[in-house]
């Protein structure tokens, strides 16, 4: 069976919902999510602090998710949950499995908003036994908030980023003490202390320059072995829960299956300032391209991409509402055949130099305007109180900025667009260094 829509969006988190909502005012939009409810990750997070930059209010995760879903419905987005996109059937065609069947969906534009997840224990190559009780934050929140189960009594939390503290709070709600937080970095990311009830957080012991090297316990978790990275000394910490936080990886399966160019730093698709990927008509937004920033920043990607998608459709000769009238025609080949030569202009790749791990977007194409919120997003593996960023192209400096807020490992560093505004899309690779 084949269906058709002008625009397909994959992933109903903040980025996908916002993109779909913006575009539904002018075009037919179908939004897929594999979960049984739309809303994405905020659904699982009971804490407040959502919606500040996009909705200009402060809400809890579930309320924020609900609001975004309501807005999308009101705008006319066709939201299809329990719909797993399993692959591509063409440049702008997706194959979708849902209880209603297995359907090919053809479109003119596709927006990928598949998000990011935390690396599980296996991908972190932590040796030892394989007992129950080793969780990521996502699993923990799912278990506590959606399934109302108690994870255990004594937890060790790996990581000391925002999400790690969020895990501590979730554990506390579930009656589980955090006996130790570990971070391989030399200082904890104290940022979170200003955002959460300090009493809880200050009573949580944090070991810096420490890593978990072994899991102990055959059936149930009994302890972990931790190593002081500098001294090389090791000790055993008893616990019945191990929460592995942060260490984000985008869900890039559809990106890779399409053969889109990927950024080595984020591992997600490489996009330009308009959030266009290497395939004309395929766009990417949210934590798929910057693992990870806050939900509201993801949502604003959704607004940014809407303009680019509209302009792409205009170039295709598709007026607004033009294909909404077509409804669900079952002819797939016509659309593919009618595409004009819409090859994308080349651009300059932006390379983040260590200790910067990545920058997003990481491509400037001719005609690109400023990125979402006029902000570039960067990830630094080192702390800087007043980060100095320098952009060079072909040995020449094209931008230099000192940012009045710190670069903190484990959270996105947002930098003004002015850094790259003068870069030339035709002059080759741009290198961004942190001083």
């Amino acid at each position: 069976m084949t269906n058709r829509s002008t625009i397909l969006v994959v992933g109903a988190g903040p980025a996908g919902l916002t993109a779909a909502t913006e575009l539904a005012r002018t075009h037919q939009v179908v939004l897929f999510d594999r979960e049984s409810a739309a809303g994405g990750i905020p659904r699982h997070s009971a804490h407040t602090g959502y919606g500040i930059r996009d909705l200009h209010r402060v809400m809890t995760g579930p309320n924020y998710a609900r609001r975004l879903v309501e807005r999308a419905r009101e705008a006319g987005v066709d939201i299809r949950t329990e719909s797993t996109v399993t692959g591509w059937a063409g440049d702008h065609s997706l194959v979708v499995t849902s209880p209603h069947g297995r359907v090919q969906w053809d479109a003119d534009a596709v927006i990928l908003a598949t998000g990011a997840r935390e690396r599980p224990r296996s991908a972190r190559l932590i040796a030892g036994d394989r007992p129950a009780g080793v969780l990521t934050t996502g699993q923990l929140q799912n278990m506590v908030h959606l399934h109302h189960r108690t994870p255990g009594k004594r937890a060790v939390v790996v990581g000391s980023e925002l999400v790690s503290w969020s895990a501590v709070l979730t554990l506390r709600e579930a009656g589980c003490d955090t006996v130790l937080m570990t971070t391989e970095r030399s200082r904890p990311e104290s940022y979170a202390l200003f955002h959460h009830p300090a009493r809880v957080l200050l009573s949580t012991p944090v070991s810096t320059a420490t890593r978990v090297v072994r899991v102990i316990g055959r059936d149930a978790l009994e302890a972990v072995e931790v190593e002081d990275v500098r001294a090389g000394s090791r000790r055993i910490v008893e616990c019945d829960v191990l929460v592995l936080t942060a260490d984000w990886i985008p869900d890039y399966e559809l990106t890779a299956l399409a053969g889109l160019d990927r950024d080595r730093g984020t591992r997600g698709p490489r996009v330009d300032m308009s959030l266009r990927t290497s395939r004309a008509g395929v766009f990417a937004v949210g934590n798929l391209i910057h693992p990870v920033d806050t939900a509201d920043v993801c949502a604003l990607d959704g607004r940014q991409v809407a303009g680019a998608v509209r302009s792409y459709l205009r170039d295709l000769g598709m007026g607004e509402h033009s294909s909404a009238a077509e409804g669900s025609a079952s002819d797939s080949s016509a659309a593919e055949g009618s595409l004009p030569d819409s090859s994308l202009p080349d651009g300059a790749v932006i390379q983040a130099v260590a200790p910067l791990r990545w920058i997003a977007p990481s491509l400037i194409r001719a005609g690109d305007h400023a990125p979402a919120r006029r902000r570039l997003l960067l990830w630094s593996d080192e702390f800087r109180l007043s980060p100095r960023l320098v952009a060079t192209q072909d040995g020449r400096e094209v931008g230099r900025l000192t940012i009045p807020w710190p670069a903190v490992p484990g959270r996105v560093l947002r930098a003004p667009w002015a850094l790259l505004e003068r870069a030339n899309p035709a002059a080759g690779e741009v290198r961004v260094t942190l001083g």
Binding site: T84, R102, P120, P131, D219
Partner: protein, 470 residues
């Protein structure tokens, strides 16, 4: 039927050990006019060595010629190859390529080719370095040559054990789970196996106890071998790595020590391993820092691109090695006891031939084996192989039953329908690991980030008294 209770059981044949070999033997003997009990200490079949192997269906090209292992692997290759078609066990005929990286290894390839012929396998072919890279373009630099083994295949060892045990049950055998044999008593014409869940009285006892086979053997008064567990650690890479490898890339044994292999898995991933450490603890299935580090080192040299991909899983399995070079089998007609021990990783391939061999031994000892003429047809197992159509991709199945359109485990695309089927199957899973072996649920790249809690709920919902652990 599955019996979990403490009532005593009395049968013609008791098979100790619900691994691949024990399940195959129980299935075979249940095909005769005999009552059979399959006794397993753990809560599920195939839960020890059989679940953590390299899952290769071997031609036996490199076995020791004239050994029992060589004979049974060759025969087993044919038997299981045929059975997999009937029972719906996923199998992929990928072929294998041995790759030489040193002059010594290159010289060994020629000897291996001759050995293959001595083992009755004549299709191996020596190839030069260009051909090696043509076949496996992602190999690291420095390959000098190779030897092809076109018929080496990959197979699902989980489904194999389950298919054997399910057919044994269909043929009327009794499966006694959670029955650990603690002692053995000979009384007149029978043996009484004292287990932690009651006695099992049997005329004949077949010892397929894997890591415990030497201990059971001692209960019968023998001192003929000792199981030395050999731990093998494995790293499984993301499905997106699958296109990097087309066949099983095997190491050439040399003075550098045993190399590791890179192989596609039947679930669409790529596997790197195994290590080989002789250890004391027969339950030490944890991974080690040293083991994982050594695998990454070897993998980096073998196929650098592979290391760029995400790791989906790491695990360790134990092979039941002994001081003997061959399988250790024997029959004691006086005690009516058969030993099938020292079955190493080739046991998956040899399993059905071993079962046939046990039947021959019994016949030789005077047991009347009369084929039943009312055998039920072989049931087709649910497909968990990536190369075959799975329910999420099967429009007809989803149209007939919407549960096959409800994807629960996103990474592995396991549907509610499949989980339901597993829970309602003749040998249902008792924990998450068992569910994973039957459906692939939770074995994907996110390892439960998205669906862990949901899948656990389905499992818990199935039975209030099921204990969930993973």
């Amino acid at each position: 039927m599955i019996s979990d209770n403490h009532l005593d059981t009395s049968v013609d044949i008791a098979v100790i050990g619900g691994g691949l070999v024990g399940c195959a033997v129980a299935r075979e003997l249940a095909g005769y006019q005999l009552s059979v009990a399959l006794i397993e200490a753990r809560a599920d079949i195939g839960d020890v060595t059989s679940k953590a192997n390299t899952a290769i269906l071997h031609t036996g090209f490199d076995a020791t010629p004239e050994s029992l292992e060589s004979k049974l692997v060759r025969r087993g290759y044919e038997l299981l190859g045929d059975y997999s078609i009937r029972a719906g066990i996923p199998i992929e005929r990928t072929g294998a390529l041995l790759v030489a990286w040193t002059d010594e290894e290159l010289a060994t390839l020629g000897k291996l080719a001759a050995k293959a012929v001595a083992n009755g396998y004549e299709l191996c072919e020596l190839v030069d370095a260009d051909e090696v890279y043509r076949r496996e373009p992602h190999l690291g630099l420095g390959a000098l040559g190779g030897l092809t083994v076109p018929d080496e295949s990959i197979i699902c060892s989980w489904t194999t054990a389950l298919a054997y045990a399910t057919e044994a049950l269909d043929r009327g055998a009794t499966l006694l789970l959670n029955h650990r044999v603690d002692s053995v008593e000979r009384t007149g014409n029978a043996t009484v196996l004292r287990t932690n869940s009651g006695d099992v009285r049997a005329t004949w006892v077949i010892n397929c106890a894997g890591h415990g086979a030497d201990i059971i053997d001692r209960h019968f008064g023998f001192e003929r071998f000792t199981v030395v567990p050999r731990r093998g650690e494995l790293i499984v890479f993301d499905k997106l790595a699958r296109s990097l490898v087309s066949s099983i890339v095997l190491p050439v044994p040399s003075s550098r020590g045993k190399g590791v292999l890179i192989s596609p898995t039947i679930y669409g991933n790529v596997m790197l391993g195994p290590t080989a450490d002789n250890i004391e603890d027969r339950t030490a299935t944890g991974t080690t820092e040293a083991g994982l580090a050594s695998l990454l080192d070897k993998g980096r040299a073998l196929m650098p691109d592979l290391l760029d991909e995400e790791v989906t899983a790491v695990y360790a399995g134990l092979r039941a090695a002994t001081e003997h070079d061959d399988y250790v089998t024997a029959i004691d007609a006086a005690q009516r006891y058969v030993l099938v021990g020292g079955i190493r990783s080739t046991g998956l391939t040899a399993s059905m031939a071993l079962a046939e061999y046990v039947a021959e031994l019994l016949r030789g000892a005077g047991l009347q084996l009369i084929q039943r003429d009312d055998l039920p047809p072989t049931r087709r197992m649910p497909n968990v192989g990536e190369a075959f159509i799975r329910p999420y991709a099967d429009s007809d199945r989803i149209a007939a039953d919407a549960e096959y359109g409800k994807v629960v485990c996103f990474c592995e695309r396991v549907t509610r329908g499949e989980i339901r089927d597993a829970l309602e199957s003749p040998i249902p899973p008792t924990d998450l690991d068992g569910l994973r072996r039957r459906t692939r649920a939770l074995m994907g790249r996110c390892q439960g980030f998205y669906c862990g809690a949901e899948v656990e709920k389905l499992l818990r919902g199935a039975s209030a008294d099921i204990e969930v652990s993973s």
